[in-house]
Assembly symmetry: C2
DNA sequence: ATATATTTTTAGACTTATCTAAAAATTGCA
DNA sequence: TGCAATTTTTAGATAAGTCTAAAAATATAT
């Protein structure tokens, strides 16, 4: 959505442009899907830009030792690159919590603003924000917030789609956090913390009937495949 | 301190780059001192940049009808330019309040972070931040926060230096808000809201002896000339 | 294995915001 | 008033991040 860049007079060594930080974050997220290296095209799609631009930026990141890169081989984050990416993700998610908890934002409204706030440079700001929010462990979509050292708490969660008939659990996160999906969930009163039980599951299209708040609801595989559940 | 710029894909008409916003803000502040028009050099000094860069930017702002500009005649903000400048100042000062009130920042630490936060684009963010902070009227340095319509509350304040012997008032603001001055005030327990009474005033160097918290303190004209007082 | 298709990189260009150096306009002083 | 000093603008460069179009490398498929 945004293409931003920042320059700071008397730039400190560990300060990167908005664009660099956005690339590092994108590579971090894509590395889960492509653990052997993120391709130029995959990154271009994620960044909503052209492959040629990606190549240019990868070279820049590689020169700064933020990524390991060999031509035509894709990129992986270096230790330093991962550190920066995680720090940006931490800031993004803390700001999301702030927006929802303190500023009355709905969970489908926070992303674009957090995309801007995540680039604010101030150690103290984020340390104090964390304290102010009482050290939250998850953002409004259920995604884990890495601690100041960059460690993600591990949660045992499973997709609702993978539950069998009769199984139940607590809704703890969303895989898709686009406004459209989140608004769908709002509309049907599905929110984090709610108990969901699988009443029926169709072999044909994987749709299921679930119990939620004493009511029953039929949902498609596209829905159940994007909801994370902690089984009880 | 910072030179920033932002681009947004599918840029809305009333969105400006960091740099544009910073120039508008600087012109706004300088217009008080130069009501007939802000000179290129004055603006260059304020922006810590070169006159040639200022000329370039002024042309850009003029093309966008944010300033009125005739070559060699200096600039003045247009109605639209003033609107944007005030909006940035509003955001800056609200964020300063947030940092001090909620995040334990001292008043000498807020400026650089607020310089970054003031450029975040979100109507809702600033509306909700204002509400969250309970609609503050002044920032931590006593400067007025314009309301959502851009109106500044008018305060009747006077420089401590202009008080005569025997006069007293409440400290309501600082003219200089550099960390060095603010730290000096902290060190001597001078803060907003305190009552100050002029006990003696030297004709020779304008220094004065003031009463503060039952104690007496001798301060130079450089100090009294940067403290705003509301006379009681 | 070789030709085709796809992916990736390179080359050259554009924009924003900056700079230096030189030219033009204005101001100020004697 | 007229020449020097100052201020402002112009001209030409640079850097970051982007783009398009073409070339190079890799992957695929018969």
């Amino acid at each position: 959505m945004f293409i931003n860049f920042v320059f700071l007079k008397s730039k400190k060594s560990h300060m990167y442009t908005f664009s660099e930080e956005n690339y590092l974050k994108a590579i971090f997220h894509l590395e889960r899907m492509y653990p052997s290296g993120v391709s130029t095209n995959a990154l271009a799609e994620q960044m909503e830009t052209k492959a040629s631009s990606v190549t240019d930026m990868i070279k820049k990141l590689s020169d700064k030792d933020l990524v390991n890169y060999k031509k035509y081989q894709g990129v992986k984050l270096s230790r330093a690159g991962k550190h920066t990416a995680v720090s940006v993700i931490r800031k993004h998610r803390l700001w999301e919590v702030f927006l929802v908890e303190k500023l009355n934002f709905n969970w489908d409204e926070v992303h674009d603003v957090a995309e801007q706030l995540e680039h604010i440079q101030s150690e103290k700001l984020i340390k104090e924000l964390d304290r102010f929010l009482e050290f939250p462990k998850r953002d409004p979509h259920g995604d884990p917030i890495p601690d100041a050292e960059g460690n993600f708490a591990v949660f045992n969660k499973v997709l609702l789609a993978d539950l069998d008939k009769g199984e139940a659990g607590i809704c703890v996160g969303v895989r898709d956090s686009t406004p459209a999906f989140l608004q769908f969930l709002d509309k049907h009163n599905i929110s984090l913390g709610k108990e969901i039980k699988v009443m029926e599951k169709e072999d044909f299209d994987q749709s299921m009937k679930i119990k939620l708040d004493q009511a029953e609801l039929r949902i498609s595989h596209q829905i159940s495949g994007n909801l994370y559940i902690k089984t009880t």
